[in-house]
């Protein structure tokens, strides 16, 4: 597989055709998508038309853009005009958004070729992509295992070579955890760096769109393409965006790296994760960084606070699925009234995990409990922000595990929601703080399955975060490559 940066350079220079790049990826999809189920929808004809347009532009002497001819997979909670956007939920059956998400416009404007809409846990609620109304996605490294989630389809698509880049959304780890389990790079940017116009909302104070790539430079480039102000999203920062790619290759000499004690010893971590984290820290020290342990005490409350705040916001956001304006409507009997229509539509349209989170959130916001749960979780959020702030007085970036373990077998955690939620223990603090974090492949478990290490940075610290991520990548053992990705095309 060629990197996205190399592909775009060759296409822009007229040394390779976008159409050929696309066909290589479509051939892998044709051969292996039935095993992986990364996509809810593959956009074969639209992608061919987009690739042809890129090639025509090059032939006519116009620059198609920084992602010229690069195939990209979109998580299916990003709106695409006139193309079904399902959130892997039955309640959006038949819905075709009347507009494109801002990130989709920016991809198209940069010459990217959108190959399809990828599977996710319903409304991005889950850590395994098993909560999809359309069935689970499987991990390209081992088809008996999950790809992680909720952006499991995009992570699997990139790992399998179905697309060179992917977009996901990360509310509590939904980009970084599947990136770790699939052996790819995945980043959650600073809250407010990327427009969320056209991202179907889950928990609005936490959601961010972010990139997947096979390497750090590709992921940073994709972030640079999608970042920046947008008049259609008032939660998007109005300032010119930071340049994620600006310090790649600068090394880590003299940088201060703190290993977060509380996350390095978090609940449920498996031994290989600790080993990889230690090796990653040693590798950075060997490259010249000043590495030390650091305590960020309030992060131990992150998971509990997250599983009060995110469901509370979700219960409010998902009130819009009422069968009135779009999507599914179920009228249980000819004389049913509005309330009966709401009940039937929502009860049949939502899956079990979505109902569970709506229930949890409604409970946490209900009279008599609001302050004990939601209000208290918001105060804990302040404590987490303060503790990170203190840590960043002494350190440029922080290091932590991404997920508690490698990819787990399908079905292993579906019966126990709390066990599934524990997947997010090391990722949620960054969402609560609004800070960026990236997962970089670093080592494997005893079965050869990939593991990731997280680099965390303060708000708008993307440049130094990717700088350290690139150094980690350079020092990491070569990550495993799924057999299906080796198929076809230049190596």
């Amino acid at each position: 597989m060629t990197s996205a940066i190399e592909t775009a350079a060759r296409v822009r220079a007229g040394e390779g055709r976008a159409a050929d790049v696309l066909e290589e990826h479509l051939a892998r999809i044709a051969a292996h998508e039935s095993e992986v189920h990364a996509f809810n929808l593959v956009l074969v004809e639209q992608a061919r038309a987009a690739a042809a347009a890129v090639d025509e532009a090059v032939a006519a002497g116009r620059d198609p853009g920084r992602l010229a001819g690069v195939p990209v997979a979109l998580k299916d909670n990003l709106c695409t005009r006139g193309i079904p956007t399902t959130c892997s939920s039955r309640i959006l059956d038949g819905w075709k958004p009347p507009y494109d998400a801002t990130v989709v416009r920016r991809l198209v404007d940069a010459g990217a070729v959108i190959v399809g809409k990828t599977n996710l846990d319903e409304f991005a609620m889950g850590s395994s992509t098993e909560n999809s109304a359309f069935g689970p996605t499987r991990n390209p490294h081992d088809l008996g295992r999950v790809p992680g989630g909720s952006s499991g389809g995009s992570a699997a698509a990139v790992a399998a070579g179905f697309a060179a880049l992917g977009l996901g959304s990360d509310t509590g780890g939904s980009i970084r955890q599947p990136a770790s389990l699939c052996g790819v790079v995945g980043a959650k940017p600073t809250y407010g760096l990327v427009s969320r116009y056209g991202l179907v909302a889950f928990a609005s104070s936490l959601d961010q769109i972010g990139p997947f790539g096979l390497d750090v430079a590709d992921a940073a480039l994709l972030l640079d393409v999608i970042a920046g102000p947008d008049s259609l999203d008032s939660t998007c920062m109005p300032d010119p965006p930071v340049q994620a790619s600006s310090r790649l290759g600068a090394g880590v000499d003299g940088l201060r790296v703190g290993v977060v004690e509380e996350l390095a010893s978090a609940e449920g971590l498996t031994p290989p994760v600790g080993i990889c984290l230690r090796e990653a820290a040693e590798a950075l020290a060997a490259a010249g960084a000043k590495v030390d342990e650091v305590s960020v005490p309030a992060t131990v409350y992150g998971l509990s606070a997250y599983y009060l705040i995110a469901p509370a916001e979700a219960s409010s956001n998902l009130a819009r699925y009422d069968g009135v304006r779009y999507g599914k409507r179920i009228v249980p009997s000819p004389d049913a009234d509005l309330t009966e229509m709401y009940l039937a539509t929502r009860s049949e349209g939502f899956g079990a995990e979505v109902k569970r989170r709506i229930m949890l959130g409604t409970y946490a916001l209900s009279a008599g409990y609001y302050d004990a749960y939601y209000g208290q979780a918001q105060r804990v959020r302040t404590l987490i922000l303060r503790d990170f702030e203190a840590a960043y007085r002494d350190f440029d970036v922080l290091l932590a595990p991404t997920a508690p373990g490698s990819a787990f077998p399908l079905g292993e955690k579906t019966a126990d929601p709390l066990l599934m939620y524990l997947n997010d223990v090391c990722t949620v603090p960054s969402n609560l703080a609004g800070h960026p974090a990236v997962s970089v492949p670093f080592g494997t478990d005893h079965a050869g399955l990939p593991l990731g290490v997280q680099v965390l940075a303060p708000a708008l610290g993307e440049a130094v975060m990717f700088q350290v991520a690139a150094a980690l990548e350079a020092a990491a053992p070569a990550p495993p490559v799924p057999a299906m990705r080796r198929m076809g095309g230049p190596a």
């Binding site: 407010g192 939660t235 304006r325 409970y363 749960y373 208290q376 979780a377 929601p417 939620y421 609004g434």
Partner: protein
């Protein structure tokens, strides 16, 4: 607000009856089996959240969202909006350019 909805049991768990109350608030119709299962599962999550519940946060202000932005404004310029017909085409039922819904007022119980 009923006395029931204020009660936090000694285990921090919630009863099937409370789950049924919350389901009504959330406009979800749950089966008896779902009520029992959700009571147990939500109880386990709330039990895990006891560390947060019991933390002393006196004097700590809440953080609702992490961005220091207030009152983001744009120029008050006329720009094209979504096409009405395209939006209405997505609705389950439409009448006279409006969303049509089942009757709102039921028969008196």
């Amino acid at each position: 607000m009923t006395a029931m909805s204020r009660r936090i049991t000694t285990e921090g768990r919630i009863s099937a009856k409370e789950v049924a109350h919350v389901a009504r608030l959330a406009r979800l119709r749950l089966t008896d089996e779902e009520l029992e299962r959700f009571a147990e599962q939500l109880g386990a999550v709330l039990e895990h959240a006891r560390d947060v519940e019991q933390l002393d946060t006196a004097g700590v202000p809440p953080t609702a969202h992490p961005l220091p932005l207030v009152n983001v404004l744009r120029d008050d310029a006329v720009v094209p909006c979504l096409d009405r017909d395209e939006v209405l085409a997505q609705a389950p039922e439409v009448e006279d350019d409006r969303f049509r819904v089942p009757r709102i007022l039921g028969e008196a119980p």
